[in-house]
């Protein structure tokens, strides 16, 4: 499977777009016509759509770390963010071992799952890494930081789509002690670094009462080597902006006011985070990759089921969740636009698009 990597931008002129193949494999997050906040964690294993006979050549869940047509462009965007703000990548000193664990996990997975794009040759501690899409070739000594241009976590996450949080596990809690965070939906590594699970989750409404977090933490503490987990989260973004960080709110927050009925289909994007969790072997830390997929509303509604369902989800969303997702301001506008794609027909179960 050859991937045609696109040249595109996630800022200024926003040339980002999805090819028809990328639309078809988009991880639409709604399994039914309404949405309620829940933890919905499941094992991170490949899944096939159950409710459709439609042939999907691949899905975003098939590989340990999905590589898609936006790979090269996303890595360029990360480079730009880091050049402006190096604090988007931080690692407390005791997390270096977890960084090596992560480097090993990503390199071995990518080399095994995308042999035409990545190669890893190991001779004891002497490793040779080839990344064809980014044109990188590196010989280094595993566990010897002086042989890489960056620390191990920074080195490998400059070559892997998605944000990464490295969580140290101690005192029956998880601690955000390292991370690479340049594409986040409104949270800040610099603010959260060193915090524990409850501290960094503080702003979510209602969920705390539901005891959701206690159960989620217990699930995460239980994640074992060899059994990664995943969940999806979603929000809406005006313009395909990867970096919607609090640090840059003054730049992107104002873009929300630019939405009109005419430009909505092209400007408004559903942004889905594929969050995965892996136990790391040497450090016993957890790594939490947060991979972001975006799709414009005009592309989304090319799947009629998704158009109908998106309308119903936004319409029936409880107010506090709408606030939390940052869509209160434009909700009427969005509903009006989406209503043209909802004829009231029933939708099939599950999130996958229907056969056409």
């Amino acid at each position: 499977m050859a991937i045609a990597f696109k040249e595109e931008t996630f800022r200024d002129d926003f040339t980002f777009s999805n090819s028809p193949e990328a639309i078809r494999r988009f991880p639409f997050p709604f399994h039914e016509d309404s949405y309620m906040y829940s933890v919905n964690l499941e094992q991170h294993v490949p899944v096939r759509p159950e409710n459709t006979t439609r042939s999907l050549p691949d899905t975003v869940f098939d590989k340990t770390f999905d590589v898609d047509e936006h790979y090269v462009a996303e890595m360029k965007d990360r480079e730009l963010v880091l050049a402006e703000d190096p604090l988007r990548c931080q690692s407390l000193p005791h997390m270096t071992l977890a960084g090596w664990d992560l480097l090993e996990l990503i390199m071995t997975a990518k080399a095994a799952e995308y042999p035409d794009l990545f190669e890893l040759h190991r001779d004891g501690d002497h490793w040779h890494w080839i990344n064809r899409p980014l044109g990188i070739e590196q010989k280094f000594v595993f566990m010897d930081e002086t042989t890489l241009p960056y620390g191990p976590m920074e080195y490998i996450t400059r070559q892997t789509q998605g944000d990464f949080a490295l969580l140290d596990q101690r005192d029956d809690n998880l601690w955000m002690d390292a991370g690479m965070v340049t594409t986040q939906a409104d949270w800040s590594l610099d603010f959260d670094i060193g915090m524990n699970f409850f501290e960094w989750h503080a702003p979510v409404p209602k969920a705390h009462e539901m005891g959701i977090f206690v159960r989620a933490l217990k699930f995460l503490l239980n994640i074992r080597q060899g059994s990664p987990a995943r969940r999806l989260n979603w929000t809406l973004t005006v313009n395909p902006l990867l970096d919607t960080s609090p640090e840059n709110y003054h730049k992107w927050g104002v873009q929300r006011a630019t939405l009109t009925p005419e430009n909505l289909g092209q400007k408004l994007h559903l942004r889905v985070e594929l969050q995965t969790f892996f136990r790391l072997p040497r450090s016993n830390a957890l790594v939490f990759p947060i991979r972001c997929y975006m799709i414009s509303f005009q592309d989304l509604v090319t799947e009629p089921k998704w158009g109908r369902r998106m309308h119903r989800v936004i319409r029936d969303l409880p107010d506090e969740l709408a606030d939390y997702k940052g869509i209160t301001r434009n909700r009427e506008l969005i509903l009006d636009w989406l209503s043209h794609y909802d004829d009231g027909a029933p939708t099939s179960p599950g999130a996958w698009a229907d056969e056409r």
């Binding site: 074992r224 059994s227 072997p281």
Partner: protein, 320 residues
């Protein structure tokens, strides 16, 4: 959720370490490499003990960086329910078994400037992996290891030959005792304390450290309880709609699993909290043996930890 993937392994070596302890070496049956692990981790060994399947946790004591084989040490417990007896009597080189992916409930705190380890008897095993891991990265550690006598102090001579300055041995038969108070007083800032051994030793170390003002987060312990035997009892599993019998030498968790119901667990020794199960109805007395639930919860009759706790009475209905 209880899964985590089983690994089919072959026993490639069984060594009698001393009168009470045997060491077992496992290699992957398919010839591949085992997962890397972190010092302090354990694996759950599955035994087919003539009709009863047992899942017993044992600390991994080999070098975490060596993925060609895992080794564990098993102390024979003549009074126990039979897991250790099965390992001692029936497990031979060449046998096929299955083990879990490694799980670490006793990890090193990698922020520590120094690791101070206190081991009693078979409690030495998790430290073997930790010491191998630390010495590879030149981490600073000190081990104080107490055993009844030199003959029963497994691995003591190997350890002191390798790390003469870091390893300190104490033998009960020679009236040698760890001067814990003095030891705790003399530690540099940023030291973390780890203890693994018999119940009494763990309590002594934790209490002494607390009295000396050590912060809770800097004191780590590992204590696997062996599930106690007891009178057989009957349980109704409401969700799976099954009535099961728990045998005398079987734990409630093992009985649930034997009925084909998947139940969560990690430590199988009453300390991790994963197996916590809601009680829907009961008429009788709980025999709580875990370290997880609070005293109020033990008295409340709403929760049970099926890996180690039992029940006596007429009815017990669980949310499982």
């Amino acid at each position: 959720m209880s899964g985590g993937g089983k690994i089919p392994v072959t026993v490639t070596e069984v060594v009698r370490v001393n009168e009470l302890i045997k060491r077992f070496k496992f290699e992957r049956s398919d010839g591949g490499l085992l997962p890397t692990f972190s010092g302090g981790a354990h694996t759950v060994v599955e035994m087919q003990d003539y009709g009863t399947s047992r899942l017993n946790p044992y600390s991994l004591m080999s070098d975490p960086a060596d993925t060609s084989a895992y080794t564990i040490s098993v102390r024979r417990d003549d009074e126990g329910r039979g897991g250790s007896l099965f390992m001692h009597r029936h497990v031979r080189p060449g046998m096929e078994m299955s083990i879990s992916n490694p799980v670490n409930l006793f990890p090193l705190d990698l922020r520590a400037r120094k690791h101070l380890m206190i081991a009693g008897g078979i409690g030495i095993t998790p430290f073997m992996g930790q010491i191998a891991q630390l010495s590879a990265i030149s981490g600073r550690f000190e081990l104080h290891y107490a055993a009844r006598n030199p003959a029963l102090a497994a691995y003591a001579s190997e350890l002191s030959a390798r790390y003469p300055r870091q390893v300190h041995l104490y033998f009960d038969d020679y009236d040698q005792r760890i001067d814990l108070q003095g030891l705790l007083d003399g530690q540099p800032l940023g030291t973390h304390l780890y203890v693994c051994g018999p119940k009494g030793m763990i309590a002594w170390v934790r209490n002494t450290a607390e009295a000396a003002g050590w912060p809770r987060e800097a004191v780590h312990h590992e204590e696997f309880l062996a599930p106690p035997s007891g009178k057989p009892f009957e349980v109704k599993l409401a969700v799976s709609n099954k009535v099961i019998q728990v045998g005398e030498h079987q734990s409630l968790l093992e009985a649930i699993e034997a009925a084909g119901v998947d139940a969560p667990y990690l430590c199988r020794g009453g300390c991790c909290g994963q197996c916590e199960t809601d009680v829907i109805d009961y008429d009788g007395t709980f025999l709580h043996n875990d370290h997880w639930l609070s005293e109020e919860q033990h008295a409340g009759g709403k929760k049970i930890m099926p890996c180690v706790s039992r029940f006596e009475g007429k009815t017990l209905v669980l949310d499982r």
